[in-house]
Subunit: 202 residues, 2 copies
Amino acid sequence: MTVSLSAELWPDVQPEAARRLMLAGVESFARRGYHATTTRDIAGGAGMSPAALYVHFPSKAALLFAISKSGHEQTLALVENVVARKAGPAETIRELTQDFVAWHARRHTVARVVQYELQALPEKELAVVAELRRRIEQTVRDVIGQGIADGVFTVPDPWTAARAVLSLGVDVARWYTDRTRQSPAALGRDYGELVLRMLGAG
Amino acid sequence: MTVSLSAELWPDVQPEAARRLMLAGVESFARRGYHATTTRDIAGGAGMSPAALYVHFPSKAALLFAISKSGHEQTLALVENVVARKAGPAETIRELTQDFVAWHARRHTVARVVQYELQALPEKELAVVAELRRRIEQTVRDVIGQGIADGVFTVPDPWTAARAVLSLGVDVARWYTDRTRQSPAALGRDYGELVLRMLGAG
């Protein structure tokens, strides 16, 4: 657990102590689950006292929310950045899949918390994250819808196809480990090809 | 939580009290995670005393293993049953995807425990489950490999393709809920078509 890793994961979070707590939170939640983790565990993991944790996060739920919100914002930004390049539906879906898959491989521990601990979020915080998820799905759906309209993709239902594309990426967080031979970038490229075929543009 | 549901989930487990404990275990593990669940929670959920739980399962880990092993045996059987029909690689992959996806939708709560609590299994028990997982992956890979050899499928790497096929099915357990409009069978059919396209036989 290094300062540079937490700065890489959360470049927008200040101060460094808050990032250190988020990293300790990710490690504890991923290992034992949210409910079995105490604020004492997290503070200890970050080399801090429980009181020091509360300076930065009012509760364990607030820490989870910070991790979850940041992860969803990062993946939404990644998807929106690809779309902003306006490369046409096929190239857009290929790059979007590559980047989304590679993120879930490279950040697999963070991604597990982001994708599998949603039900632990309090209602208001869940609503914020759900809106980010809705925007991610809508963006992918719109690209696929445009590809269908352009005659580039041949799938019958853009919603089901968008869900399948995102599902392939999310599930990488479940099975990818530091021992996986294929690099995140190489896996992203392979999945980009598979997704283009799936949509009828292979 | 009814007797008939637990009998439907685990027809081979006897007596009924053991099935009732497995169902209470699934519900607790899915809601709060394995580590935050006590044997007292599980026994209470089954309307039994903690002592009564130990008559059937020597530990919380033994109960998790029973749930995990049964889930993996059921999905392996499902995959092997489709292959045994010898319908050719394309039809086999279509039916296999349908059944695997529909199982993860219909049994989404059980499937979440089966797919996401592997790391909580003790070493020996994990080895048993890992072998079942290896057989599932190998079976799917072999069908895809046969399809490539027959010129029916055009994917370059049967391992990556097999992983993607299974990944699409497993991830259904994460997002499918009782409120999802599409039925497990309809979702299975849609995914069967998407997978055939992905393999180059759409």
